[in-house]
Symmetry: C2
Subunit: 244 residues, 2 copies
């Protein structure tokens, strides 16, 4: 146990030195407990913080002028998020918890130490940023070029893949903490239409509802109609600097 959720995540890619672990722990020395639905940051508010999520789920979203919402990304335990604070003084997105959550905020000034003293960690931060960028481009293609059914399938597949990455015990069943309205806001659809697509996916034998859970009955099939590419599998870390 490193005492840092984020360190554990990174340690899955490369074994960390003690010094690196300590540097990451400093990012998490200020944990805060939040109830479900708590607002962490609102778009355009001044914000110099970034966050590591230790327990629970969160999400980031934008609200447009007409009041509609675009959910940008779901955040799971071990994720670092709110990272646009590194570039901007005002929040570029709103952040809210989707469940009871433990959150570790840290000031972006803390990044200076990481970049100054731990080049390998800095490189990992950059690599993660690139991986998230790719995840966003995949979603862009999903929204721009695939059908409603495919978009919903892509969201569900991505949730399964990411949650399983965090917990190897997960095989085909995940908690579905999203309302259909939220699924719609993530996929650019209406709640009503999401409902129809979920039913269609169920009728196709691809998924099944069970209490608040979702059972993926045909992962391959779901991924296929979603046009889903699993890119989490392997990062290429060949260029990393030496650890310090």
């Amino acid at each position: 146990m490193t005492g840092s959720c984020f360190a554990e995540r990174l340690a899955r890619y490369v074994p960390l030195t003690d010094s690196e672990k300590r540097a990451l722990e400093r990012l998490e020395n200020n944990p805060r407990d939040l109830p479900r639905g708590a607002t962490i940051t609102r778009e355009n508010d001044n914000c110099d913080e970034m966050y590591v999520l230790r327990h629970g789920w969160a999400m980031s979203y934008l609200i447009l002028d007409d009041g509609s919402r675009q959910i940008l990304r779901l955040h799971f335990p071990g994720d670092m998020f709110g990272t646009s604070s590194a570039a901007f003084g005002e929040a570029t997105e709103s952040l809210v918890t989707m469940s009871h959550a433990t959150l570790c905020p840290f000031d972006k000034q803390a990044l200076r130490v990481v970049f100054d003293e731990h080049p390998r960690l800095a490189a990992l931060f950059f690599i993660i940023a690139q991986a998230e960028r790719v995840s966003l481009t995949d979603r862009l293609a999903s929204l721009g070029r695939t059908s409603a059914k495919a978009r919903v399938a892509a969201l569900l597949t991505d949730m399964l893949v990411r949650l399983r990455f965090l917990n190897k015990d997960i095989s085909d069943t995940i908690p579905l903490k999203l309302t259909q309205e939220e699924i719609g806001d993530a996929t650019g659809l209406t709640a009503v239409h999401v409902n129809r697509m979920m039913r269609a996916l169920a009728e196709d034998g691809l998924v099944m509802r069970n209490n608040g859970n979702l059972v993926i009955r045909d992962e391959q099939g779901l991924a296929r109609i979603a046009n889903y590419v699993n890119r989490y599998a392997e990062l290429d870390l060949g260029w990393l600097p030496a650890p310090r």
Copy 2:
């Protein structure tokens, strides 16, 4: 003159040290000239390179199973692109020139030196990655939650803002190197519908065509209907490490 297009870009945010300039120049010591329409990388090909664009335009895109294309981003002079190579061994997107172009490829191993010896440059790389991530989230909201007309307006506004950032002489007229098919592939629309939306924008007095150029007649109005947020204006660099 630094001899590095990318260094000039970064120097607009912070004055660079000689040592930093030299490090950036090394990324560009292998320029290559390409004709219009040249493929730089194809999705899924092995690729350990990243690129700095010195002259001309390029773009990145994905092709889906059904053959449809999603254009992810346009790249202009001074842009670094193909950066997902930092995280993956295979290209996550295809790259192609949109005009005669001068390109400077560098192996991702070169990043190691930057992160090891130039923490401030590394931090700038991270900041730029975050800014591009935000740009993608804005586009996600555009595709997910706005009308066809708004999406086209957003693309045109973004092009104007970015090109003007590169060249202060640009006031309201930009070359439109995109076919309507390409505009459609960028905005998730059909070429036919793009044509109608362009006409609508023209009828609204927002834009005008002139040879191969586009004249933005009402930038405010175009940005308003596009739901456009200009985030290029100011980065917050307060946390940057000391230069080396």
